[in-house]
Each structure stands twice: as structure tokens, then as C-alpha cells.
């Protein structure tokens, strides 16, 4: 009883549609941000893609023929699940960090992005998976025949006269291919998760579980009476068979027997290493926390799906009477017992199992195919605008290729194998990745050469001992190869290599392939070295998890020529399309500092390059992405080169190396040893030259005027710095450094615009840096420039910051030294001023002495009169002057003068006046003519010296008692006469001397009486000021004169000085005060 061709086809079609709707729904939910896939249950179900139609049909077949050892295929993964929290989680973390797209990507990235390794892994995956896909096609076609009751290999449709014949297998392959393309290759980005695909796979996993449980419950509880009923009945009916099925090893002997250990080992590896398993577990993982739950959910799934396998197998034998066709008991048992509904359920379960596996597998492998076989060729061409289109179609082509290779294997090998045995060939192939994979995660020494050698040897062994013999059953390969070995060499028989007889095909193949694989991997890894690219990856695969970020990873690469963001974007656009490229770069830009042109700093460039690679890797795989970016850079004339590691490789736990600390220490020793800047500068530069293998170093410091001058110049090939010196070409950089207070450096002078550094380049200088000498937040004091002739790219962020900290220390020293110098300078200046002052004082004192000596020591004696005069200078030399000239027995001239100012000049003029007066005293007779001639003679000198003289000149004749006098602007002398209360003022018209060249002085005469006291004085007397600001004034002079008129002349003079000092309340006079007194006796 069966459903017929049309309804079977319809059911399949409807079911396919349902799955497609599930996928669409999941995709829709993802777009709207409410993912249904993002939970541990869907994740666990998607891992159950492990259970293919092999599980669905093959397990029952195996259980019915060789017995319970089929369970090993599921116990292995269940056991592996123990390790997921370590291994799987680590794989997921690494993959997410590096945008890994497939297992080939994962392995090749770890071993230095080796394209050969990626291609090798891909090749193994394609060939290895061939039998596995053939298995699915075989299972589905057979189940389709069973369910539709249709016999034969082809479906013939009546079509316009002739019959159109389509093999079912081909139809199936075609449908599956189209399906896979729709689910997995709509977009290029493969590292992105395919939620629709995952949802479909999870749904199918659910269907196959329900379906198998349904059939199991039906068989166990409907046809029979529970587990023990089936077991007891079977034991009674077939006791021998019972023994064989429920013990291990009893059925061994034939080539189909696989020892349980081999199955366990292969399945343990396969759960992680099959491309589709890696895809759903690692690539499609949305959250690594799901792993913990999947660790027990997935084994539970395996447990449930296998619970009824044994009862179904036994029930099938019981109801059909033999174990022939046991592979399809799941369908045939319900059919033969007339339950077509259950049979359809079983058919759908099997279809799900097969379709899910084929879709995921083909998508995973086509990604590998594109990234590791096609891309290495494509990257050799110049990127074109149509590349994204080409790539996506190549990926689609890959899916067809993978499925049709499986179909081809099915055609050739076809029915000669049981399902399980076909699957084991694929498991063996996947096992070849195991050593390289575990080594990638845990063995630091594992290297590219080892991985390639190991995998290649293992693959060749597998090919020779397993895949080729599998063809022999179909007659493709001559039986002789198997029976007597190639060219009759028995030792090289594929099934008994080196005479290893008595082992089954799989254990034999596993043993030799693992021996060569692990041996090759370990030996090459130990013997050969890792290259730079590999070491970098090891840090990411292993280093990330040990000592995570314990030390800052320092940049060890630089781009020899800067590339802009825009250039990277246009490169990415050529492979992943404009939109994707823009989206990627937006995410990159988000949290980074960009300069005014929208570019990143030179130190950031390697990160940008890595980001570009990572973005491309999401679509084309890491190895191809690396090749694309490298070829792009080389077209640009730029390349990644190792940063010259100034600090060698020894790093302390902080971000400083021992060398860096040593240099800092040395520098501070130099700076603190002396206050001589020149020594500090010379020693500091010498230290830098020695420690960092620099070739020239120059320190420029600003002087007081802000001009920069070279203060120290150290280096091997020194020449005097002049306009022709190569250093002059760096001047603009120094000025820039001074202006923006930042270090400027050129890591490769050859990359600078041509003509900028002709002489510098001629000098052999390849890199240079200019660092401002300044303290934090203060204007720069100068620039330190360092040059290297040997190492381009030596100025890393670290090195610049070290140099900056040294210049900072040096700036501190410069500031201190300059402060000390300034203070010293000030002190010396003050000292000199004091010294000078003292010298002037002494000179002035001498001048004063001389000046005082000009004044008459005492008044000449004349009968009938008493006379006296005194001058007291206020400070040093003054301009007061008085004198007496005795003409004869009765006549005397007397004068009082005041030269304006108190300078030496005034004193000199005074001495000139004295000389002139002495000279003309005999030739002139009256007072006015004395003044007149004096004025004429002094005019020039006085004008030149800008001085004036006031003078009162008087002539007294004792016989006539007459006083004739003339005045040149001097204070009026006073006469105190007995009986008169007021004083008589002596006044005569006349200008101050030195104002006009010729002046006429009025001469007046007064007759003096007995007892008259004449007082001649200078303005120091009347202008003496009391602390209250009051002046002594004429009135006080007059009244004081009145009160002391009776005293002798000397006492009168004394009393005046006393009165003035009393008045001013200060013993020191404010101005010179000269007093001359004449008393008529």
C-alpha cells in the first residue's frame, strides 16, 4: 500500500513550501529586530543537523544488521559536548573576532592566512563530503520510491510525442541546489548569520525528531507491546541474531564491520569538524551563552532520536522476517502494516533530515570554495565594478557543484554501500582536520608547514585507503588494486598498507591517516620556524584567552605609505558592494578620532587595514582578504613593514620596556648632574645616538627674542651648519613643531613629496623626527631633531612618546638653568649699580670739598663793620656761592649767587663764575657793570648747560656808608634797622644771568646806618618747608633777623641755621642754604 507518485510529489512540495515559509518568517522577524532564532533551543536544534538521513534510515539499517554499535555515532558527540564550554566557546569567540566564514578560514587564518592551507582544507571538504551527499540523495530517492510505490530510477513524463525521462536523483539534486541557493546564497556576506537557514534547519530537526519518535512509538506500542515485548519476542524467535545484535564485535570479520572505538573517535571529531557542523555551531552562533544550554540539550536530542531505533529495527525484522532493506524499515514497516499516514510522517522526517544536511553542507562548502579556491585566482585581477555580482554567482555555482558531485558519487557508487558506511568515509575525511584544529587552539608551536604537511598526508592516506577502495565496489577501480596492490606490490595494498592485515577498512584508514597526519604536523612544527604572520595569529588564537589584555599589545607594523579611508572604502566596494562598504566604514568610524581631512593618524592605519581585511574576510575569507588588501597596497606603492623595534622584544608587564626605562634613567642622571646646559645637551644627544642607533641629533633653543638657534649638534658626519646644510630642509618642520607644540616625524623621507628633502636624502637620511622641548602647558623652548640613516619607520607612537618625555625633562632643566642665570644676572647688575653709586658719591664728596673750598674761609676784616658768611649744602655739591672782595681799606664787594640745580655742572659753573669775577674784579667798579660783563661772558656756557644763575652783587664803602648794588634775579637781601619793625628789601631791576645775551642791570644805592644788619641769603632759606608743608617765608626771616640783630654776626648765622632745622624738624637741609650777614658797627 502506498500513496502514489502524484500525492507523494504533492506532499513533498507542500512540505517544502512550509519550510520555506518558516525560513521567510524567521528572516522577517530578524529584519524587524525580534529574532526567533536567537535562543539556545533553536541553537541546539540547529546543531541537530548532525542527524541526517543516515540517522533517520541508516541507524535502523545498521541496528538491524550489525547491532547496537550504531549508538557510538551518537555517544561520541554526546561525549564531545563535555568539552564545548572550552573548545566551542573559544572557537566562537575567535570566529566572531575575525569574521571567520568557514572551517577552512578558521584553520588557514591560524596558520598565517595561508591560501594553500585554505585550499587544501576546502578540497578535502569537497571530496570528503561527496559520499555524504550521495548518501542523502540515495536515501531520499529510495524513500521516495517506497512511499510512492514507484519502482525504477527514472520518472518518465509523457511529453509531446516522445517521453521525457528524468532520473529522480537528478531531480532531487536540482531541487536541493535551488533550495540551497535560496537559503544560503542570497547575499555575499558569509560571516553574517543566515537566520532563515537556521530556522529552516531547526524546524527540520524538530520534524525529524517528532517523526522518528512517532514511528518508534507506533512500532513499539502499536505493533508490539512495549520495549520488553519486542526484546523478548525477538530473543525467542532469533536467539542467535539477538546475541549478535546486542553484543559488540560478534559480527566482525567483514569489511563492513567497524570497531566501536573507530566509530566513537570519528563521530567525536565529526561533530565539530564537518563543515556544516562548524557552520551551524560556530558561524551561526548568535550568543556564546547558548553553548552552555546546548551542551546538554543536544545530547538529549540525540538520546531521544535514538531511543526507538533498536525497537524499530527489531520490530522490522520481526514483521518482515529478515534484515534485508533494513535501511528503510522506518517507512516500510508502517507501509507493510497498512499505516500509510505514519509512513508519510516518516518520509517527511527523512526528507527533512536529508534536505537540512544538504543545504547547510553545500552552503558551507560553497563558501569555502569561493573563498579558498576562486578568490585566490580572482584577487590576481584588478578589482572591477561587477565583482560583487561575479562573486555571488560563483558562490551559487559552488552550491550546484557540491551537490552534483554528491550526485555523481551516488551514480557511481550507488547501491554498493550501506548508508552508514558511506557516511563513515566522510567522517574519516573530516577527522583529518583534528590535529591542526586542536593545535590551532592549544599548541603555540604548531605552524603552517606542520598543518599543511599533516593535513596533506592524512588526506592522501584517506584518499588512498578509503575513497579509492570505495569506488572499487562499483567496478570503477580494478579489483586487482585492492587484492594485490598497485603494480603488484603487496605492501602498498590500499586496504592493508605495509602489511597491516586483519583490520577493517575504516580503522585501517584511520590508523594510517592519523599516524601520518599527527606525525607530519608535529615533526614539521618542531623542525621549522613560524613566520611573522603566524606569530601574530597565535596571539589572537591562544594569547587572547591567556593573559587577556594583561599587557598592551604594541603595534608592530606600519604602512610605509599612508592610505586614506576613502581608498579603503572604494576597495571594499569592489568586492562587497558600495552599500556594504559604506556600512562597514561607518561602524569603524564611529568611535575613532579623525583629523581634519577625515583620515586617521599614521598609528591608526594598521588598525584600519586590519579592519578592511576583517570586513572583506566576512565575504571572501581571511586568506583572500589578506591577499586583496596586500595587492591593493602594493599597487598604491605602500606595504606593511615591521616597525623597527626600538625596545627589542623584552617587555615588562607595563607598557615600558627595560630599555626605555634605562634611557629615561640615564637621561635624568645627565640632566641632574650639572647646571651647564651645553654639557646636558651634548650628553643627552650622545645618549640618544648611542642607545637608538640614530645618526644625527640637533637641539635648537629659542633665545630671549624667540629666535631659534642650534645649540647642540651631535652625530657621526658633522659639518658646520650653514645655509647649505641639509638640516635647513627640516626647518619648516621645526617651525611647525614650535607652532603646534606637537612632535612631527617622517618615517620615510623617500615618501615625502619630491624635491622637499633633496640634500637630506642625499645625506642618506631615511627618517627623522622633531620633538618640541617644552613643559606641559607652556610655550616650547626649542626643538630636538633626530635623524636616522638606517631605519625607516623607526618612529612609533611609543618611541615618540619616549622622546617627548625626554624633551620634557630637558625643558625642565632648561627652565631651571635659565631661572638661575636670570637671578645671577640681576644680582651682578645690582652690585655694579651699587659700586657705581659709591664711586659717584665719592666723586661728589670730593667735588663738594672743592666747592666748599671755593667759598671764602672767613670774611675780610674791615673797620666799622662785622661780616660773616656760611654755606651748608643739602646734598653733595650745590650751586650756592658767595664771596667777598676787598678793594681797599674801606671798600668791599660782596655777592651771593645761586646756580640753578645741584649738579656737578652747577658747581662747575660756580667755579667759572668765581674765576671770572676774580679776573674782572679789578677792571670793573660798579655792581651793575660786574653783572653785565659776567652775563655776557657766561651766556654761552649757561645756555649750553641749560643753567641759570641768580646773583646779587653789592659794593660797600665804609667811609660813605653807602651800599651800591645790582641784582640778577636773586632773592632780595633784607636790612634790619633799629627802630623799624619791618625789614628793608634791597631790590634792583635785572634779569637772571644766562637768559639774554645783553642785559642792562639797574644799579641802586642805599645809605646804611649804624646798627643796620644786612642779610644776604639763597632761596634754600625761605623755601625750607616744615613737615606740615609750610614754607619758612620772608616774614619769618625778617622777624627772626629782628630778634637776633643784637647778636654778633656768627651767632646770627648760627641762629638762622638753628631756626631752619627747628622749622623743618629735620637735621638735614632740603636745599643748600647760604647766608651772608653784614653788620654796621
Amino acid at each position: 500500500m502506498n500513496t502514489g507518485l502524484a500525492s507523494a510529489a504533492l506532499i513533498s512540495l507542500l512540505y517544502t513550501l512550509l519550510i520555506f515559509l518558516v525560513a521567510l518568517y524567521a528572516h522577517h522577524r530578524k529584519v524587524s529586530g525580534r529574532s526567533i532564532v536567537n535562543n539556545p533551543y533553536i541553537y541546539s536544534l540547529s546543531i541537530a543537523v548532525y542527524c541526517t538521513s543516515w540517522t533517520f534510515y541508516g541507524s535502523v539499517g545498521r541496528a538491524a544488521t550489525t547491532g547496537i554499535d550504531f549508538l557510538m555515532i551518537y555517544l561520541g558527540p554526546s561525549l564531545t559536548a563535555f568539552s564545548w564550554i572550552f573548545i566551542l566557546r573559544r572557537m566562537v569567540q575567535i570566529s566572531k573576532e575575525n569574521n571567520i566564514t568557514s572551517i577552512a578560514d578558521f584553520i588557514s587564518l591560524r596558520y598565517g592566512k595561508s591560501p594553500w592551507l585554505g585550499a587544501l582544507v576546502t578540497l578535502i571538504a569537497i571530496l570528503g563530503i561527496m559520499p555524504y551527499i550521495a548518501l542523502q540523495i540515495k536515501a531520499v530517492s529510495t524513500s521516495f520510491y517506497l512511499i510512492s510505490g514507484f519502482k525504477g530510477d527514472i520518472i518518465s513524463l509523457p511529453s509531446s510525442g516522445s517521453e521525457l525521462s528524468i532520473p529522480t536523483g537528478l531531480m532531487l539534486a536540482l531541487i536541493l541546489s535551488i533550495f540551497s541557493v535560496m537559503f544560503g546564497a542570497r547575499r555575499l556576506v558569509s560571516s553574517e548569520r543566515h537566520e532563515g537557514l537556521v530556522a529552516a534547519v531547526a524546524f527540520e530537526s524538530l520534524v525529524k525528531l517528532i517523526s522518528l519518535l512517532g514511528v518508534g512509538i507506533f512500532v513499539t506500542y502499536q505493533l508490539f507491546d512495549g520495549f520488553s515485548d519486542i526484546f523478548t519476542r525477538f530473543q525467542t524467535l532469533y536467539p542467535e541474531k539477538f546475541n549478535q545484535l546486542f553484543t559488540l564485535g560478534a559480527s566482525s570479520g567483514g569489511p563492513a564491520a567497524i570497531p566501536s572505538f573507530t566509530m566513537l573517535f570519528l563521530s567525536m571529531g565529526a561533530i565539530m569538524l564537518l563543515p556544516r557542523q562548524f557552520h551551524v555551531m560556530v558561524i551561526e552562533n548568535s550568543d556564546e551563552r547558548h553553548i552552555t544550554k546546548a551542551m546538554w540539550l543536544f545530547p538529549v536530542y540525540l538520546f531521544l532520536i535514538n531511543l526507538f531505533i533498536m525497537p524499530i529495527a527489531l520490530g522490522g525484522i520481526l514483521s518482515t522476517g529478515s534484515s534485508t532493506g533494513a535501511d528503510f524499515f522506518v517507512i516500510s514497516v508502517p507501509l507493510t502494516t497498512g499505516h500509510s499516514g505514519i509512513a508519510v510522517l516518516a518520509f517527511l522526517g527523512g526528507l527533512s533530515a536529508a534536505a537540512g544536511m544538504v543545504i547547510v553542507e553545500s552552503v558551507a562548502i560553497s563558501t569555502m570554495l569561493l573563498n579558498h579556491i576562486f578568490m585566490p585566482i580572482i584577487v590576481r585581477f584588478t578589482p572591477q565594478a561587477w565583482f560583487p555580482l561575479l562573486l555571488i554567482n560563483l558562490k551559487r555555482l559552488g552550491i550546484f557543484l557540491v551537490i552534483f558531485l554528491g550526485y555523481f558519487y551516488y551514480l557511481v557508487v550507488g547501491d554498493s554501500f550501506m548508508l552508514v558506511n558511506m557516511g563513515m568515509i566522510s567522517f574519516s575525511a573530516a577527522a583529518q582536520f583534528l590535529p591542526a584544529m586542536l593545535g590551532a587552539l592549544y599548541w603555540r608551536r604548531g605552524n603552517k608547514a606542520g598543518a599543511i604537511t599533516g593535513i596533506l598526508l592524512g588526506f592522501l592516506t584517506w584518499l588512498y585507503t578509503l575513497l579509492i577502495p570505495s569506488f572499487s565496489h562499483s567496478g570503477w577501480i580494478s579489483k586487482e588494486l585492492l587484492s594485490s596492490g598497485p603494480f603488484g606490490i603487496g605492501l602498498l595494498k590500499p586496504t592493508a598498507m605495509f602489511g597491516l592485515n586483519g583490520m577493517d577498512l575504516w580503522s585501517h584508514s584511520l590508523f594510517w591517516s592519523m599516524l601520518f597526519n599527527i606525525g607530519g604536523y608535529i615533526i614539521c612544527s618542531i623542525l621549522l620556524r613560524q613566520d611573522e604572520a603566524e606569530r601574530e595569529q597565535i596571539r589572537r588564537y591562544i594569547g587572547v584567552f591567556e593573559l587577556e589584555r594583561a599587557y598592551r599589545v604594541t603595534e608592530t607594523k606600519r604602512l610605509s605609505k599612508p592610505v586614506t579611508i576613502a581608498q579603503f572604502v572604494s576597495l571594499m566596494a569592489k568586492f562587497i558592494g558600495e552599500d556594504e562598504a559604506q556600512r562597514a566604514i561607518e561602524s569603524y568610524r564611529g568611535n575613532r578620532e579623525l583629523d581634519a581631512d577625515g583620515n586617521v593618524s599614521e598609528f591608526e592605519l594598521p588598525n584600519l587595514k586590519r579592519f578592511t581585511e576583517k570586513s572583506l574576510a566576512g565575504s571572501v575569507g581571511a586568506a583572500a582578504a589578506g591577499a586583496i588588501v596586500d595587492s591593493f597596497l602594493s599597487d598604491m606603492g605602500s606595504r606593511m613593514e615591521s616597525v623597527y623595534d626600538i625596545f627589542s622584544n623584552v617587555r615588562t608587564s607595563l607598557d615600558q620596556s627595560r630599555e626605555s626605562l634605562f634611557v629615561r634613567l640615564k637621561a635624568s642622571e645627565i640632566i641632574n648632574r650639572t647646571l651647564d646646559l651645553q654639557i646636558i645637551m651634548d650628553d643627552l644627544l650622545t645618549l640618544l645616538l648611542k642607545e637608538f642607533k640614530l645618526d644625527a641629533a640637533i637641539i635648537q633653543l629659542r633665545d630671549e627674542n624667540g629666535l631659534c638657534g642650534v645649540r647642540s649638534y651631535q652625530g657621526s658626519n658633522r659639518r658646520p651648519i650653514n645655509e647649505q646644510h641639509w638640516f635647513m630642509e627640516s626647518r619648516p618642520y621645526c617651525e611647525m613643531t614650535l607652532a603646534d607644540r606637537k612632535a612631527h616625524f617622517i618615517n620615510d623621507t623617500k615618501q615625502a613629496p619630491p624635491g622637499q628633502f633633496p640634500r637630506t636624502i642625499a645625506e642618506g637620511i631615511v627618517s627623522c623626527a622633531h620633538i618640541p622641548i617644552m613643559r606641559e602647558g607652556e610655550p616650547p623652548l626649542g626643538v630636538m631633531s633626530v635623524f636616522s640613516t638606517s631605519i625607516s619607520g623607526m618612529f612609533t607612537e611609543e618611541f615618540i612618546s619616549l622622546l617627548s618625555s625626554l624633551t620634557g625633562q630637558f625643558a625642565q632643566a632648561v627652565t631651571i638653568v635659565r631661572e638661575i642665570e636670570a637671578r645671577e644676572h640681576e644680582r651682578v647688575q645690582k652690585e655694579q649699580a651699587l659700586l657705581k653709586n659709591a664711586r659717584v658719591m665719592r666723586d661728589m664728596e670730593i667735588a663738594q670739598q672743592i666747592q666748599l673750598s671755593f667759598l671764602p674761609e672767613s670774611a675780610p676784616e674791615l673797620p666799622g663793620i662785622d661780616m660773616g658768611g656760611r654755606c651748608i649744602s643739602a646734598a653733595h655739591v650745590g650751586g650756592d656761592y658767595y664771596d667777598f672782595f676787598r678793594r681797599d681799606e674801606h671798600t668791599i664787594d660782596l655777592l651771593i649767587a645761586d646756580v640753578s640745580g645741584h649738579s656737578v655742572g652747577a658747581a662747575l659753573v660756580m667755579s667759572e663764575v668765581r674765576t671770572l669775577l676774580r679776573a674782572q674784579f679789578n677792571s670793573t667798579h660798579n655792581a651793575s657793570s660786574v653783572l653785565q660783563s659776567l652775563n655776557r661772558q657766561l651766556y654761552d656756557d649757561l645756555t649750553r648747560a641749560e643753567l641759570f644763575i641768580t646773583m646779587f652783587y653789592a659794593k660797600y664803602n665804609a667811609t660813605t656808608d653807602r651800599l651800591s648794588y645790582a641784582n640778577a634775579g636773586h632773592n632780595h637781601p633784607l636790612i634790619c634797622r633799629k627802630g623799624e619793625s619791618a625789614c628793608i628789601e634791597l631790590d634792583a631791576e635785572g634779569l637772571i644771568l644766562g637768559v639774554k645775551q645783553s642785559v642792562v642791570f639797574q644799579e641802586r644805592t642805599i645809605k646804611l646806618q649804624k646798627g643796620d644788619v644786612l642779610l644776604f641769603y639763597t632761596d634754600g632759606l625761605t623755601e625750607a618747608t616744615s613737615p606740615a608743608g609750610e614754607m619758612f617765608e620772608n616774614g619769618r626771616v625778617c622777624s627772626h633777623l629782628g630778634s637776633v640783630a643784637h647778636l654778633p654776626v656768627q651767632e646770627i648765622i648760627d641762629s638762622f641755621y638753628q631756626a631752619v632745622t627747628d622749622f623743618t624738624e629735620s637735621p638735614i637741609l632740603q636745599d643748600d642754604v647760604s647766608i651772608v650777614v653784614l653788620k654796621i658797627l
Binding site: 554526546s78 563535555f82 530473543q235 539477538f242 546475541n243 546486542f246 545530547p299 538520546f303
Partner: protein, 86 residues
């Protein structure tokens, strides 16, 4: 009171990386020659073949152990021992 303390101690032991390795190795041993040999007999127990029973119950038990481990890994860990966090 006492049960919760025992539970805590068990959880604490399960957080150790060593415990995982031990159970993993134990699983491999249980699925290999000496142990399988013990149960590799055609006898039945309560109507169930011995080996079938061994596999089924052993498997269920191992899943339970993994479940316990995942429970333990969610517990707060102390920093004195090497913990599960890779």
C-alpha cells in the same frame, strides 16, 4: 541545611576545570574495551538486553552530569581556583 551545604560543595567542585577533564576521560573509558567487555553479554535484565540498558542508562546519566556542570558554571565562581571561564 545540610543538603544545601553538600549541594554547594558539589557545585564548587564541578566548577573546576579538572572535574570536567576527569568526567570526559571517564566517559571515554566507559565506552571502551574493559568496561564494554563487562556488559558485552547477551543476557537480559528485566527483559532488556544488558548492553542496551548500559548504553541507555549510562547515556542518560552522562547527560545529567553535563546538566549539573552547566548549572555549576552559572554559579558565582571564586577566584582562588582555576575556574571554568576559558
Amino acid at each position: 541545611m545540610k543538603i544545601s551545604r553538600v549541594r554547594q560543595r558539589v557545585m564548587h567542585r564541578l566548577q573546576l576545570r579538572e572535574s570536567w577533564v576527569i568526567f570526559f576521560v571517564l566517559g571515554i573509558i566507559m565506552l571502551n574495551f574493559p568496561f564494554l567487555h563487562i556488559f558485552n553479554k547477551s543476557d537480559t535484565l528485566f527483559g532488556f538486553p544488558l548492553l542496551f540498558l548500559y548504553f541507555t542508562l549510562g547515556w542518560a546519566f552522562s547527560i545529567f552530569v553535563i546538566y549539573l556542570f552547566t548549572l555549576a558554571s552559572r554559579q558565582p565562581t571564586d577566584n582562588h581556583s582555576k575556574t571554568l571561564q576559558p
